[in-house]
């Protein structure tokens, strides 16, 4: 099966055009959609994550790979849906109220998508109500909160409290991150996990999903 190996390569190199063409051809030749995703696309993004973690890749390489992955994935999605395949998990992500920075959050969103998660990005400066609404409409498993300013960190706590008051806290896992956020702060405000960087965020999301299934 040489085509999907080329798919792996195209994603690794961040070549969206190739990735798209290869996927198209593979589907035309009757390849199994789920096997394309799990056998080649996600492993490619795992390798991308590894290279990024090792500091062999910078963000641009990583994002170009994520973009190639997404292009191929969009093509496959109808087949996946009809086969009843599930994403690795559903994530609602956003930068909390008052905070307009979103580079870090965008990175995490891309990496999660690359890791097979269905990501709903609410953008920056997101009030608690919008998180609540998104959890309800998307059936999210995970809410990922980002803050880049110390003055907006308290809004993380407020958002988590609002999720509790809306009766959603038990249905979801909350992960937090951003420059001023610490592991200790995450625990203090009752988050389920903290991630120091974008690629660790994927591993964390997977752990949270596993914990969710186990519970």
């Amino acid at each position: 099966m040489s085509e999907p190996s080329r798919l792996y390569q195209a994603i690794l190199e961040g070549n969206a055009k190739d990735a798209l063409a290869i996927t198209q051809q593979a589907l035309a030749e009757g390849a199994n959609a789920l096997e394309l995703v799990n056998g080649h696309m996600i492993p490619a993004m795992d390798e991308v994550g590894r290279r990024f973690e090792n500091e062999d890749y910078f963000v641009p390489e990583l994002l170009l790979s994520a973009r190639a992955m997404k292009a191929a994935l969009d093509l496959i999605r109808p087949q996946l849906a009809s086969s009843g395949a599930q994403p690795a998990g559903r994530v609602v992500i956003g930068t909390v109220k008052g905070d307009l920075h979103d580079i870090g959050k965008n990175l995490v969103a891309s990496m999660l998508e690359g890791g097979g998660f269905e990501v709903h990005d609410l953008g920056a400066d997101v009030p608690p109500e919008k998180f609540i609404e998104a959890v309800r409409t998307t059936g999210a498993d995970i809410v990922a909160l980002s803050a880049l300013l110390t003055v907006t960190m308290p809004a993380m706590r407020t958002t988590i409290e609002a999720l509790s008051q809306a009766g959603l806290r038990d249905r979801i896992k909350v992960m937090v991150g951003g420059a001023p956020v610490t592991d200790q702060y995450a625990r203090e405000i009752g988050a389920d996990g903290y991630s120091e960087n974008a690629s660790a965020a994927v591993a964390l999301a997977r752990r949270l999903m596993a914990a969710r299934t186990a519970a």
Binding site: P60, L107, V151
Partner: protein, 466 residues
Amino acid sequence: MSTYTCELAVSNPDELVFGSAPKPVRCGFDMEIGAGTVFPEVNFTLPAMEISDATWGEVVGHYEEMARNVLKRAVSLQAPGIVLEFELLPPMTERPEWGAEITALLRRHLAAAYEKSGLKSALRVTPTDIRDQGKPPLLRTGEAWEKLKRSFELCIAAGADIVSIESVGGKEVHDLGLMYGDLRSIVFALGCLAPRDMAWLWDHISAMCAEAGGRTVPGGDTACGFANTAMQLAHQKMLPEVLAAVVRAMSAARSLVAFEHGAVGPSKDCAYEGPILKAITGCPISMEGKSAACAHFSPLGNIAAAMCDLWSNESVQNVRLLSGNAPEAYAELLSYDCRLMNVAARNGQSKLLRDWLTESDEWLSPQAAILSAPAAWEIAEAIVNAGDGYQRCLAAGHAAAGILRRAVDEGRLRLPAKELLWLERIEAGLREMPSAETGLWDEMLEKHAGVFEPSSYGWPHFDLGH
């Protein structure tokens, strides 16, 4: 009303030294900045806390405490003068009265210290550029701009001696450019969008200072949201250092526009492009480096001081250290840093100390390599010899890439393979850029449709020529 600067304010790199600028600035309580003495600029902010009506009393208490402690330290160390910077937090610009209240509070403390102890001082106030809220951001109309404008007006009225801003025009495109390592978008943001917003914005800021009577000095802008974002991403190994270095050089072409539209310095501390601006405009600059390690790490710890007129800690929260509160500790640190520079100057040896500060960092990072006096001067010259904002940006990029290439070829700068690869990509990317910005607009309007709002930059009614 713009005229492009066409020649440098200093005739050779050796005229670029700390403490002295061709065009010193008088402001505040008997301060003269750039006239031979380097002063500390102490920046401080709140610890992690919410800002609301409920916490406002506590907020005020923090600023009272910070001002009291910092000024006590400056007096105790016999500082020849001090600048305080009050960088508004977003809610304080959203509600302009809040920012003005803190401005007035700080000004009161400075007045009291001047009266009681003869401490010379000035207050820099920096409203937050909150115009990036919309997607795409609206820069020239709407509530955010109205509030920002009001914030400047009220802070000027409340006693700001210097006003600055970290303006965000073009950042919406630049962020994407950085993340995808997309040089065309980066150049478009820094060379086409940002200068247009800067020109428009700084015409307004200068006018507000003038209308209020002229005792408030329009300080300058910083490419913080552009070049410092790149520096931080490079620090976190998310972006190549060579890209951050080239972005820094190109950002000078952008930050220069403030000076062409009324700013007179001191430029803002986090504008590491300061030396290039100083070479072009002759205005005094504020810089930050090792003693801003409380706010961010950098490969520019010493070299950043080489040509500074104010020396800053960028930002420190009012947290408790073993000695006392952090702002006071940083006031002490900066005071001693400045003392050393001023001693060297007193002994007629500014240039020697400048060269040591430079040698300390120059070849350990591409970002430092483009900030030595000769490098800054070379980039400055490339800028003033180019045409419009776009061409100045490109010229700065070429100059910086050229400095790095020469240093690599001559073995002074050693780079890992993945950085070298990116240096090549950047060189190629610069070569492939169209010679005039007209060749870029259509591509960018399509590529970033919905990301930026053309009318925020005067499109399509502005003059694309020189």
